[in-house]
Assembly symmetry: C2
Homo-oligomer: 201 residues x 2
């Protein structure tokens, strides 16, 4: 095995461990979601909604780049962990960003050919929400755990959130798209109707 | 929500369930892999090896289509199940193919715009190994569970396979690429060295 293939091999065995990183929402009624399966569904949802997104924004959107951002966006959590979106403050956010940036440089930069540079650039684009594609992926990334908490019956008791709190978390991100906002409204309505989310005035 | 968005919503909640389909290989030392996380890693591996694959075969390979095949190739298992690659015979294969085809028609065909037709065509391309892209994805799909059985320490005891049996399962598929064959050889060697795979003559 030549040196370049050894580096690719090591990256493959590194990324394999994204299956071990647990998220805070469920994948099924009886277990937490892994970041790997979260990333898969993000890519599927972007693919499914791509034509709608283009229709809404009135210009082409690079689905290939969107899907790659979905696949890659949380790979650094293999070493940096997955903090809950419900428990972040300013200093925690900055420390998380620094830790993830360090993992990205260490794990991505040395990959052969143009691969390392591509991964670093895509991660940066996603983190900054620098393009319409990145902002839509960030919207789907926010919608997805709400969908799973609803579908699996997990609800929001573990984070003590009611519908108003969920709106505050979701709307700034899903608001990038009328389609994502409509899908969030549907999830919210279903969750309230099933008694998974408190919507008391 | 308009009728088209309702169809897309229902497809999203349908695909969400790929997290529930368990494979026969482990994801971590303590649990089986879901088909969703398997599909994610397949896409990552194809992306990682894409430049090598192009170098080997001497012509461009459509990575976007490869990644879409990875994401989609097992979605039908949500309803058709995931039979082990180790326990198949001719009649079982044919019945599996029919069941999966039926799920694909029922779940994909009615999707709005060009989406339904795209999903059906990509699934067909993958199943038939009709293109270099499809044959490479099929190679990665075969390599991946061997890698996970090795990395997680699961080994092959549950399927009663030794190294010769593993070669018979792997080589026809990974043989499509020198890179995939080299990666398989590395997995095999590591597994034998760790006592996970018997290589007695």
């Amino acid at each position: 095995m030549d040196a370049d293939l050894r580096r690719l091999h090591d990256f493959i065995t590194f990324t394999a461990r994204l299956r071990e990183v647990e998220r805070h929402n469920n994948a099924t009624p009886s277990r937490r979601e892994s970041v790997a399966e979260h990333s898969w569904h993000l890519a599927m949802v972007c693919w499914t909604l791509h034509a709608r997104f283009e229709e809404e924004c009135g210009h082409p959107l690079d689905l290939g780049r969107m899907i790659k951002m979905c696949l890659l966006h949380d790979v650094v959590e293999i070493e940096a962990g997955d903090p809950s979106a419900w428990h972040r403050d300013g200093s925690g956010e900055a420390a998380k960003a620094r830790a993830e940036e360090e993992v990205a440089r260490r794990r991505f930069a040395g990959l052969p050919g143009g691969l390392g540079a591509e991964l670093l650039a895509l991660r940066e684009e996603y983190e900054r929400g620098a393009t319409p594609e990145a902002r839509l992926v960030r919207g789907v990334d926010r919608l997805n755990p709400a969908l799973m908490r609803c579908l699996t019956g997990q609800g929001w008791a573990d984070v003590g959130a009611d519908a108003a709190a969920l709106d505050r978390l979701q709307l700034p991100r899903v608001g990038v798209s009328g389609t994502l906002t409509a899908l969030y409204r549907a999830v919210r309505e279903t969750a309230v109707a099933r008694g998974l989310l408190d919507d008391a005035p």
